[in-house]
């Protein structure tokens, strides 16, 4: 990985919405307790399974109901849900975490202007067969299953960092192209606008939002 990519990667981290919010609220964010972690036998899941099984029993399909909806399959579905949620565009680029301590709700953990570069970065590493990096993007969302809460950002930091890295690879690769000057200019304008928009939310609206 060349120096340029590392520099862009660091710059992207420092400008990222999640970074600003985490450095502001880190005490509250890190102050989680045991109940915040994912539990295999969590009561909501068990109650949902029981309700579904009850409904299938009423329809005289109790055996099939148990076979399809049970602790193991529902746990698998729940983990898969948490995993797939990480790739949600709305979460990543529009609103972020559901918890106000971890998001201003005006932008996701990543800026929207990075979206094309994340895609381009992934394409680049795939074409260059850098499979460990690709593996990182595919596997890191698994940490999202650590927390009970949906769309949780702290547990998804490894994934967000991997996407930031993809964006950095994409930006550097794109900047090295000799043409597309207008697009490069547009990206800079859009990125600056997004950053300023976030900063304005962060300083002007976010304190009111937290108070409410």
């Amino acid at each position: 990985m060349n120096k340029k990519i590392i520099l862009v990667f660091i710059a992207l981290i420092f400008t990222s919405p999640w970074f600003w919010i985490f450095q502001r609220n880190y005490k509250e964010i890190l102050n989680f307790n045991k109940s915040d972690f994912y539990q295999i036998n969590n009561p909501i899941l068990i109650s949902e399974i029981n309700t579904f099984q009850g409904e299938t029993r009423l329809a005289e399909m109790g055996f099939l109901g148990k076979l399809i909806i049970n602790k193991y399959t529902w746990f698998f579905k729940d983990v898969l849900t948490q995993f797939l949620e990480s790739y949600d565009f709305h979460y990543l680029f529009m609103e972020g975490d559901l918890n106000l301590l971890k998001s201003t709700r005006s932008s996701g953990p990543l800026f929207l202007s990075l979206f094309p570069f994340v895609c381009y970065g992934i394409y680049r590493i795939f074409r260059r067969k850098k499979y460990p990096l690709l593996f990182l993007v595919l596997v890191s969302p698994i940490f999202g299953c650590l927390f009970r809460q949906h769309y949780e950002t702290l547990s998804r930091l490894p994934f967000i960092l991997s996407l930031t890295l993809m964006a950095a690879i994409g930006i550097v690769a794109f900047s090295e192209k000799s043409d597309y000057k207008i697009l490069k200019g547009l990206f800079l304008v859009f990125f600056s606008f997004e950053f300023l928009r976030f900063i304005h939310y962060y300083f002007l609206h976010y304190p009111f939002l937290l108070q409410r």
């Binding site: 399809i68 898969l80 797939l84 949620e85 949600d88 680029f93 939310y201 002007l204």
Partner: protein
């Protein structure tokens, strides 16, 4: 040799068609659990056309059906006329055509994919995946108009490709005719079809130019066909429909604007960062990508009860593996795919399919983005083909056995979960109210109708929306008698309307403290409108309670003396 090879392909396609038919007709009148008001409106208007040649308001052969003030497209109503004539005015008649067209679409889709990629395996896989697709089944078993319009979209594309690749001029006329029919069939296609047609024309530009005379004549033919519809497309009804359902009629709440302005200190900051272009622009981008989100495709689908399937999204859970494989296949052979115009078309098709959904107010909409399912099924088929090829290549290793067993178990579980959810778990949860399947009206009409002559007035509450449609439908009330009495009452300019009533029926909100003074009147409404504690036995009596499938009260029927 060729015919020998073709036979099994057509046999397989026939088998897929039978499967598609079975999945679309099995328990068609009981799942979804009841008719929704659109279905009742389509059917009653078809009945009205059949009996009188006029719609429920007495308009002669209209090209837009006012209905509950949502101005429905005409094609489905007119196609329903012969079906209602043969089968009568009932649930089967309403759902017969969408199911039939849905199953036929599977065949046309197979032929379309074959025309695109000249690969029968891919075509058959695509057809099979479409035949069992939860998204496709959801909208081809009920809520008819979109099934009809999407059939014409697929047929139009297929014929366009046949024209481009072959030399039969009839195909371009059939294609244009089909595309025009989509304008008559479903509101959203009026945005989607022109963009799709433009996309097709631009992608196959060279072929189109080489036969520009045929193309221009066909285009003129299309304009002629569409001409009668122009007047309705700019009618005040359509304008108010656009304002009601799309973001063009949406205004940010005054409270939000005031609060934001006061927090922003400087007006310029507010003007720059909260400009409508910025906020609406972000809203549109968000809605567009929401249609591709895992939440919509796999996890939950849509919040709307009429569109959702409990416990899953619009695709099977296991489809995400096929989708991943498809992306992997495409990216690894991108140079080959880049050269193929046909593949560019599939991407354009997928990219423009959510257009009607993104300008509407709902965050995601499976019905308005229904055209997405076809390119998605094609991508899933690419993934499935890749998997089959990988399994077939070389020796059967332990790794392969694990992968096959793993995927098959996952697929069988996903499939079983869908059928269990669709037929058993979802119906009782989505039955109640206007957000769901309007359950209870049939039972209500069956109870009240024989008694209607015993009362001076029958007042039915409109909390669940549209009772008049269900009374007209289930009573098979003669349209010739209803038309002079038809009046649509709207609460405000942004709401849909309610039929005021006919004969002794009055459809309005019940206000029990005032209404209980009415003598010899029958009331029907939800429990909160007719509280048991306020029913004085000297004045009134609870005759019957109708329940939702989950055991909660749907309607109370109360008479006053």
């Amino acid at each position: 040799m060729k015919t020998v090879k073709r036979k099994p392909k057509y046999l397989i396609l026939g088998g897929i068609f039978l499967l598609a038919l079975f999945l679309r007709f099995y328990k068609i009148t009981s799942v979804p659990i009841s008719l929704n008001w659109d279905e009742a409106a389509f059917a009653y208007n078809a009945y009205s056309i059949l009996e009188t040649g006029k719609d429920e308001y007495g308009n002669k052969m209209p090209l837009e059906f006012k209905s509950v003030g949502d101005y429905k497209c005409p094609l489905f109503v007119y196609l329903l006329v012969p079906v209602v004539k043969i089968l009568g005015l009932n649930e089967l008649a309403v759902r017969f055509l969408p199911s039939l067209f849905g199953a036929l679409t599977v065949i046309i889709f197979c032929l379309l994919v074959e025309e695109l990629f000249e690969d029968w395996r891919l075509a058959l896989l695509s057809a099979l995946l479409l035949a069992i697709s939860p998204w496709h089944l959801q909208f081809t078993r009920a809520q008819g108009d979109v099934a009809i319009s999407s059939f014409f979209v697929i047929f139009g594309i297929w014929q366009f490709l046949r024209w481009v690749k072959g030399d039969n001029p009839i195909s371009i006329y059939l294609s244009v005719f089909s595309f025009v029919m989509t304008f008559y069939a479903y509101f959203s296609e009026r945005l989607f079809t022109p963009v799709l047609f433009l996309g097709l024309t631009l992608i196959f530009y060279q072929k189109v130019i080489s036969r520009k005379k045929q193309f221009l004549i066909a285009l003129f033919f299309g304009l002629l066909l569409i001409f009668p519809l122009f007047k309705t497309m700019v009618s005040s009804g359509q304008k108010s429909k656009i304002l009601m359902t799309t973001i063009f009629g949406y205004h940010r709440p005054e409270e939000y604007l005031q609060k934001t302005k006061s927090e922003d200190y400087f007006p310029i900051v507010f003007e720059v960062f909260h400009h409508p272009v910025v906020e609406y622009g972000l809203m549109i981008v968000d809605r567009y990508f929401n249609q591709f989100s895992p939440y919509f495709l796999f996890i939950r689908g849509v919040n709307d009860d009429r569109q959702r399937i409990e416990g899953m999204g619009m695709l099977y859970w296991s489809d995400f593996i096929l989708l991943l494989l498809a992306i992997f296949t495409i990216v690894s052979r991108l140079e080959w795919f880049k050269k193929k115009k046909e593949f560019k078309f599939v991407l354009v098709w997928l990219a423009i399919s959510p257009l009607p959904a993104i300008i509407t107010r709902d965050p995601v909409h499976a019905r308005r983005a229904f055209n997405m399912i076809y390119p998605l099924c094609l991508l899933l088929a690419i993934g499935a083909k890749k998997f089959i090829d990988w399994v077939k290549a070389g020796k059967l290793s332990f790794k392969k056995i694990i992968a096959i067993c793993g995927f098959c178990s996952f697929f069988i579980w996903s499939l079983s979960l869908y059928f269990l959810s669709y037929y058993i778990i979802t119906p009782p949860r989505t039955a109640p109210g206007p957000g769901g399947w309007y359950y209870g009206y049939k039972q209500l009409v069956e109870y009240i109708s024989p008694l209607k002559n015993d009362y001076r007035k029958i007042i039915v509450d409109t909390s669940y929306q549209g009772p008049y449609l269900f009374f007209l439908f289930y009573e098979k009330y003669p349209p010739v008698l209803y038309q002079p009495q038809a009046v649509l009452v709207k609460k405000d300019e942004f709401s849909l309307g309610e039929g005021r009533g006919y004969d002794q029926y009055e459809f309005r909100d019940i206000y029990w403290p005032a209404d209980r003074g009415l003598k010899k009147t029958l009331f029907a409404g939800p429990p909160e409108r007719l509280p048991l504690t306020d029913i004085d036995p000297k004045q009134a009596k609870l005759l019957k309670t109708i329940y939702f499938p989950d055991g909660k009260e749907a309607f109370r029927i109360v008479e006053t003396y």
